[in-house]
Symmetry: C3
Subunit: 330 residues, 3 copies
């Protein structure tokens, strides 16, 4: 029995089911193959318009979405907040409606406030526009495409021919760092627990609050555990996900110093000896070398999946744009 | 007898004749149909270069031109003043000549000073370059594509199959707000009077000076009247065009307060009762909700044409780029 | 016997041989012909990704590279430093690796520090990435594509059908201005001396230091001479290259005033009488009119090659992208 993709927006992974993850993984896998060709384009979204509404600036993620859309042959519009009508007093919803009226088919939205993509998606549905909304990171809520590219990176490593969520059942995955402020951590908690993994969060008490203990999808055997020391999280871990540490956290008195953070929670070769022999390290980038992770370790392809993550990011975003774009056609 | 398009630049509507408007309306109508298709591209400007020289920043208008050019399959270059040679002391004309020498076919120019597009067009002609210049708004002079998309929006409503200027003969159209500083108002005055409409300007005396009384094209039955109260302008009006109110006007002591402005000149459901039953409201955007127009009224598709205007903006700009681009070919 | 193109990166002209220059000139010549067609595109880099990493902002040069890449049908990514991860503490090398991992085939790099493109190219080679690096100007080191477009402009004038370096043997070329800070001058010194030309540098002693006397490639008959007065450099010159004068030089006390600079080193019609009758003037742009060069002289097509240089810039960059892009294929 075939599961059919029906999701129109990519907003949050909190309510995704394993079959949805599997469709994304399979589709990304075929696009990853396209990317290895000399000519990396497919005409899937020819003549359609993907608009990047990045209210919070980001070159890296925007470039990844832009390249994914270009390789599907879509037309891209980039909204740049600096020179925009926002500064002229226009509401975010009115900005979105303007791009809707211009003929946008898919809106990729990043905003510093949680919930903005959802609010725009609701309005698009209410108006029966057929427009898909893609959350590219909203406040401290979710960053679904980052978690999906992490999932694809991990499962592709476990079975390159057939990445799928069941490969993660019982696997131990540590997520280390500033969990509290991380939309990447939140999205990963949903996807990894839904896949049946054993997820261990580790970081300073100020950044790993108890309220996280109730998160995650436990219906498929997934577990979530919290630690304020790094060692129990790393013990026998198959994968270690590190998070970017915002330097602002120190001025907010949530952290003593970067050096002390690195001493207690930084990923080093020594600490990785606690993990499985074939452990791999992930980081969503950009990395503060020597803070979240030792500099030489980051460059070691035997340990680091960071570069794979970036490459897979394009394939996964192609897959997601393709799935929501094709749905519209039917 | 067929009228042939011969205009090489789109600079100002002040000297346009009705037949020219009609060609634009017909061409935009066919492109509007293209935009409703799933694949919204035509190869009309394949291999040609459209350069956006936006000395005054604008995301909304630039996106509209960019999308129009992309849908005609042109290559687009965007000149961004922030990081440009302008700051290095280069003259505007030298910047334009640089983009000319790179191979630009059509230059879309926005500048805070009136006359800049004309000056560049003259230089392009003097040098026999064959390059077309498209004024995307120059100071308080003109914004032809905005007035043309307004004209297309109104005439398409009156006859969707065959929009043409004669449909406006004797129609009453109110333009409300800061007429003095508005290039949109000026371009609309030319197009609507040339179409034979009865145009009523309304706003505070500081923003609707008497010198406007002599404007407009009276050769085809068009009329222009000034009011310092809104009611006589709205009385029996078929269409109401509101203008964006720049908040700077208050610091310049031309306006008491936004609230008082709204009380005296804001468009409300109550005030619209003075108009024809099927009156429609237009606004060039971005809207200050609750200032120029009541917020809920703006979102009422039975009254507001604002979203239609944005959609038609792409079709009208495609039409204009197509007409001046094709002329070059002959 | 045919010389074959083997160069993978375009970093500096210091070690180029005449045959390499000739291949670029021939290839640019055929692309210049493409640019004169109505449809100016070729599918040479279809599906490949050219990323502009402009750490030092430049609209003019970036547009030229962007257009060159578009006309070869490549996909373009633009990295904008203002809104980038650089400000988030990421190293330049990590930024480059991120764009590598996204699938970049050719990186076009401009940076205010000399050596950055070389460092990135070394890393790309060390990692066996196959990625080509193109130096679009690094500090006061080199700006190869500018010197190559100058070479193409000069040799195309001497023989439009067959531009080649031997045409420059024994030709006298003056380079006037701020040699010290100019990467354009340095790249031109290498290309012009390698072509066997007699190169004369002229400018104030502060900006034409003696250490330049030893530069240049003397193996093919080229010569290099320094002057602190302009007259001996212009005497019988076939070509005069002027350089952009950065106004910062005055605050650094390297220059008395722009007026005095113009009086002593500015290019005027009077001064050009010292040169050959058919002398031509070049300038890399943007020009400070009335400083480096008289304003009316700049606009005289009988004397100025400035506009030709801009047009040829697109053709030469197409040629270089094509050559390094095609090499990768073999």
């Amino acid at each position: 029995m075939q599961f059919t993709w029906t999701r129109h927006h990519i907003l949050a992974l909190a309510d995704w089911v394993p079959q949805e993850y599997d469709i994304v993984l399979q589709t990304a896998s075929s696009f990853r193959e396209v990317l290895s060709r000399r000519t990396k384009k497919v005409p899937a979204l020819q003549g359609r318009v993907v608009t990047n509404l990045f209210f919070e600036p980001s070159t890296r993620t925007r470039s990844s979405f832009e390249l994914a859309a270009k390789r599907l042959s879509a037309d891209i519009l980039n909204f740049s907040p600096g020179t925009s009508s926002i500064t002229k007093g226009e509401t975010i919803l009115d900005t979105a409606k303007t791009y809707l009226a211009m003929g946008t088919d898919i809106m990729v939205i990043r905003h510093q406030q949680a919930g903005v993509p959802n609010a725009i998606a609701q309005e698009m549905d209410r108006l029966n526009t057929g427009v898909s909304v893609f959350n590219a990171g909203d406040g401290q809520h979710e960053h679904p495409s980052q978690a999906l590219l992490d999932l694809f990176t991990i499962t592709s490593l476990l079975d390159p021919e057939n990445p799928r969520v069941e490969l993660l059942r019982g696997k131990k995955i540590a997520i280390v760092g500033d969990i509290l402020h991380s939309r990447v951590a939140r999205s990963n908690i949903w996807s990894l627990t839904a896949a049946g993994a054993e997820v261990h969060l580790a970081g300073p008490p100020t950044l790993v609050p108890m309220l996280f203990a109730s998160m995650g999808d436990r219906t498929h055997g997934g577990q979530l555990l919290l630690h304020w020391e790094i060692e129990p999280a790393l013990q026998d871990a198959h994968f270690v996900m590190t998070l970017r540490l915002q330097k602002e956290r120190m001025t907010e008195h949530l952290l003593p110093s970067l050096r002390e953070y690195h001493q207690r929670y930084g990923i080093t070769r020594d600490r990785l000896k606690l993990c499985q022999n074939d452990v791999k390290v992930l980081h969503p980038g950009p990395v503060n070398r020597g803070v979240e992770i030792d500099s030489d370790l980051m460059d070691d392809p035997a340990l680091s999946l960071i570069s794979e993550q970036v490459t897979n990011g394009v394939a996964v975003r192609m897959a997601l744009l393709y799935l929501i774009g094709n749905l519209k056609a039917s």
